[in-house]
Symmetry: C2
Subunit: 496 residues, 2 copies
C-alpha cells in the first residue's frame, strides 16, 4: 500500500488557494450539523512516518474546524495513572461524545510499532496486538462512530532530509527525537511492519487512507477533503445510530423449555447460622490477607455481581468489602447511565471506573446489563445486544491480559424465594425503599430473563473469565460461596 | 484541644453491642434519605495521629453504611497527573455528587502537616496553606455540602506502644511506615503544629471533633453517632441547598448611571487590513515561540474569554490556537452544565478541565458565568453570585500560585455593532446557527449585563489575575490586542 504514496504528488498554490475557502465553509457546516444532530462521534486517526507532516496537517485541521468541538490527543509515555490500567484505557478515557470529533495523533498504532521495532513483541504478540486494535475500532464503528484513518508516508530519502533540516534549525530541533533517528536507521525494517499493520487493520468500516506526505498542500487537501466527504456522506444518508454488526454472532441459544444451567442448580443447599459465622470469619480473614498480597503485587481486582432482584447481591458485596481496606476499593452501583455516559459507547462507563493497580472495583450490576435488562426491556436493539457478547469477551480479555483478577457472580434464587424476600423487605423500615413497582413488574418477565441469562453464560463464560453460579436461596450459603470463590481466584491470580 | 482527647475514654462491650444495631439501621435510613433527596453531599474528613485508629474506624463506617454510596479516598504521593496541577485538584476531582458521601482519609491536612514538619514551609506559608484549606472547606459548605471533620488523637506513649506492636506482627508490619516512626520521634514538635492547625481551621460550618483514639469501641461509636446526628439534623431541618454566605461581601457596586469602565473604552480604535495581516503574522510567530518555551518549562496556561454575544470571542480564540500545537491545547466551550456537573459545586467543571503541565486550556466563557448570565438570568441566587466573587478570587489564586499563566479577556462591543453582526451572521450560511432568539432577548438586558460586568471587574481584577478589556468593535484591532496581551503575560510568566 505504501508505494502508492511515493509518487511525490503535489498541488500547486493556485489550485490550493481556490479550493480552500469553500472547503473551510463546508467543513464548518458539516461540523455544525454533526454537533446539532449529535447522534454519532467522529474519530480521526493520524499515524505514519516521522517527518511526514502529521502534526502540521492536524494543526491545519484545527485551523479550519471549529476548535471548540474537536480535540487532538497525542500519547507519549503513559502517565502512572495510565500505566496502571490496560493500555486501551487511555484511549477509552478520552473518546469524544456524540456530536464531537477527536483526532488521535500517532494513536493506538504508535505503541505497537514501537514495541515491535524494539523487539519486545513476538510475531504472535504482534498479530494479537493488531487483533485487539481492529476489535477496538470495530467496537467504535459498531457503536456508530465515524472512524477515518490516515497513514502518512514519505520515502526514506525525504525523511532523512527533513530530519536533518529540522535538527539544524534551532526553532525546530526540539521536534526531532532520538526515536526519530532510530526509526530512520531502521526504515527498511520498519516498512514491512507498517505494511503488515496496514493490511491487517484495514477494513470496510475502518479503512486506511495512505497519504503522500511529500507536499504540504497535497496532504492537507487530501486529508481535509476526505474527512469532509466521509462526514458528509454519513450526515446525508444515515438516519440512525446503530448499524447492524457485520460480524455474525453464533446463535447458540437453547430452547427455553429444555433444562437450563439455572434449572439444574440445587437451590436447597444451606448452612446453619453457627456454621456460617465460623466460615465467615475464616474466609474474610483469608480474603483480607490475600487482598493485602494483591495490593503489594499491584494486582487490580474487578468483581461483577449479577442476579435477580433481591438475590442478595448487596449483602454478599458487603461481606466481601468488610474484609477489604476502605481506601482500596470502590463499589459501583449500575443504574441508568448519566448524560456523559449516554453520549458514548456503553462500555465507556465501565472503562472509566477500572481500578488503579492494587485496588478493587466491585460492580453491583455491570456491563452484562446490555444482554440482560437492555435485551429483555428492549432498550438495546437486537443487533446491539447480540454483538455485545463479543464486545464483552474482548473487554474482559483486555482486563485479564493486563493482569486484573476478574470474578463474575450470578446469584440465583427462585420465584418463591424472591416473593418471600419482597414481602420481608416491605416489613423492614430501612429496606422498604428497595421495593418498587418495577420489581414486581420484572417478576412477570422471569422466563425472558432466564433465557437471557442462559445465553449470557454460554457466550461469556471463558477460561480466563468464568462465571460462578451461586445458589442463593440460602443467603449464608451464597455469601460463603462468594467469599471462597474470590479467595480461590485471588490465590491463582496473584501467584501467577 | 488535644488534651481533652487524652482521658482514655472507653465504652464497654455490652453498651457497644446494645447501641450498634439501632445505630446501623438509622445510619442506613439517613443515608438512603440523603440519596433520595440528593440535594447535598457529605464529606467526612478523618485525620490525626498515626496509629490512632483512623483506618479501622473508616473500615467500620464502611461496614455500617451502604458502601455503594460512600467512597473513601486516601492520598499518598501525588500521581504525575496530580502533580501537574494545583494540589487541590486531586480533592476537587473526587468530590461526591449530591446524595453521596465521601470520606477523605488523611485528606488535605496530611500534606500540609508533612511539609511543615519537614521544614518545607515558613510560618507564613503554613498560615497561608491553612487559609487555603479553610477557604476550600467554606466553598464546600457554602455550596451545601455537609462537612464533618474528625481528628483522631492518642498520647505519645500509646502511639509508641501501638507502632511497636504493629511492627512486630507480620500481618500488620506493612502498616508502619518510615513516616510513622519519624512522626513519633517528632511527636513533641508535631503537637503544637496540630494544635494550631485545629484552631485555625475550626469554624462553625466546619468544626473539628477531636476523637480520643485509645479505645476502639469508643472512637467508632463517637464518630458514627456524630455523623448520624449531623446527617439527621441536616436532613430534618434544611429544606434547600443554598445557604446564605456567612462572609459579608463588599458591596462596592457603582451606580449604573455613572461612567463605567466599559463606557470609557474607546471602541473606535481600528487597524487596516494590511496592517492587521502583518501584525497577525508577527504576533502569532511570537506566540508560537513563547508557547514552546512554556511547554519546555512545563508552564500551564489558562485563557478566559468573556464578552457579549457576537463580540468575536470565537474568532479571537481561533487566531490564538492557530499559533499553538494542536496536541497541546483544548478549547472548552461553556454552556449549560451536564448532569455530573450540575450535581456538584459550580467550580468543579472548571477544576476538571485544568491543563496538565505545559498544556493550555482555553475557556470560551468560563466560571464568570456565575456572576454574569447566572446573576442576570437569576439562575443563581443573590447570596450565591455574591459569594462567587470571593470563590473566584480564591480559585484563581490557586492557579497562579501553582505557576499557571492565567489571562482573562473581556471583549467589548456596543449595541450597534452587535446588531450589525447579528444581521451579518444571518447572511452567512455557516454562521446562521449561531443566531437564536435567545441572542435577541439578551440584548434587552444590556444594562443589567453592564452592571454585572462592572462589578465583575471591580471584584476580580487582581494583580496576579488582571482583566484585559478589549475594544472589539474592530475585529482586527481586538485580535491583535489579544495576541499581544497573551505574549506579554507569557513572557513574564515563563521567565519568572
Amino acid at each position: 500500500m505504501l508505494c502508492a504514496a511515493e509518487l511525490g504528488q503535489k498541488i500547486d498554490k493556485k489550485v490550493f488557494n481556490e479550493r480552500v475557502p469553500s472547503l473551510r465553509t463546508e467543513l464548518l457546516l458539516a461540523q455544525n450539523q454533526l454537533r446539532q444532530a449529535a447522534d454519532f462521534s467522529v474519530v480521526a486517526v493520524v499515524a505514519g512516518s516521522d517527518a511526514a507532516g502529521k502534526g502540521r496537517t492536524v494543526n491545519r485541521l484545527h485551523q479550519w474546524l471549529d476548535t471548540r468541538y474537536v480535540q487532538t490527543h497525542a500519547f507519549d509515555q503513559p502517565s502512572d495513572e495510565q500505566a496502571e490500567r490496560p493500555l486501551a484505557w487511555r484511549y477509552w478515557r478520552v473518546l469524544p461524545a456524540k456530536g464531537r470529533m477527536a483526532i488521535f495523533l500517532g494513536s493506538w498504532y504508535s505503541e505497537v510499532i514501537r514495541a515491535m521495532l524494539a523487539g519486545e513483541l513476538s510475531e504472535t504478540d504482534f498479530a494479537r496486538a493488531l487483533g485487539h486494535l481492529s476489535t477496538f475500532e470495530q467496537q467504535l464503528t459498531d457503536d456508530g462512530t465515524l472512524l477515518v484513518k490516515y497513514w502518512f508516508h514519505i520515502p526514506k530519502k525525504l525523511q532523512k532530509k527533513r530530519l536533518e533540516r529540522y535538527a539544524s534549525d534551532p526553532d525546530r530541533a526540539w521536534r526531532v527525537t532520538d526515536l526519530d533517528w532510530r526509526n530512520l536507521r531502521h526504515y527498511d525494517r520498519l516498512r514491512p511492519i507498517c505494511e503488515r499493520l496496514l493490511n491487517e487493520t484495514h477494513s470496510s468500516q475502518a479503512p486506511w487512507l495512505v497519504v503522500d506526505g511529500t507536499d504540504r498542500r497535497y496532504r492537507e487537501l487530501t486529508v481535509s477533503e476526505h474527512l469532509l466527504q466521509s462526514l458528509r456522506s454519513r450526515l446525508d444518508t444515515v438516519p440512525t445510530v446503530s448499524l447492524p454488526s457485520p460480524v455474525p454472532v453464533h446463535t447458540s441459544e437453547v430452547e427455553t423449555d429444555g433444562p437450563t444451567v439455572l434449572s439444574q442448580l440445587d437451590l436447597d443447599q444451606e448452612i446453619s447460622r453457627s456454621h456460617y459465622r465460623r466460615q465467615l470469619r475464616k474466609w474474610q480473614g483469608r480474603l483480607n490477607k490475600l487482598s493485602r498480597q494483591a495490593h503489594k503485587k499491584r494486582t487490580g481486582v474487578v468483581l461483577v455481581f449479577e442476579g435477580a432482584d433481591a438475590a442478595g447481591k448487596g449483602g454478599a458485596i458487603r461481606r466481601v468489602t468488610t474484609a477489604l481496606d476502605a481506601r482500596r476499593y470502590e463499589v459501583v452501583p449500575i443504574a441508568a447511565p448519566n448524560d456523559e455516559e449516554r453520549a458514548r459507547h456503553y462500555l465507556w462507563r465501565f472503562w472509566r471506573r477500572l481500578p488503579r493497580a492494587g485496588n478493587w472495583t466491585v460492580f453491583d450490576r455491570s456491563w452484562y446489563g446490555r444482554v440482560l435488562v437492555e435485551r429483555v426491556e428492549q432498550f438495546a436493539t437486537e443487533p446491539e445486544w447480540r454483538r455485545a457478547y463479543q464486545e464483552i469477551r474482548d473487554f474482559e480479555e483486555l482486563l485479564c491480559e493486563h493482569g486484573i483478577v476478574l470474578v463474575k457472580f450470578w446469584l440465583h434464587i427462585d420465584l418463591d424465594e424472591q416473593a418471600k424476600r419482597f414481602a420481608e423487605r416491605e416489613q423492614v423500615p430501612y429496606k422498604q425503599y428497595k421495593i418498587t413497582d418495577e420489581d414486581y413488574r420484572n417478576r412477570s418477565k422471569w422466563p425472558q430473563y432466564e433465557t437471557a441469562v442462559q445465553d449470557m453464560f454460554q457466550q461469556t463464560c471463558r477460561p480466563h473469565a468464568p462465571w460462578t453460579l451461586v445458589e442463593a436461596n440460602d443467603k449464608y450459603f451464597a455469601r460463603i460461596k462468594v467469599l471462597r470463590t474470590i479467595c480461590d481466584h485471588l490465590r491463582a491470580g496473584v501467584r501467577s
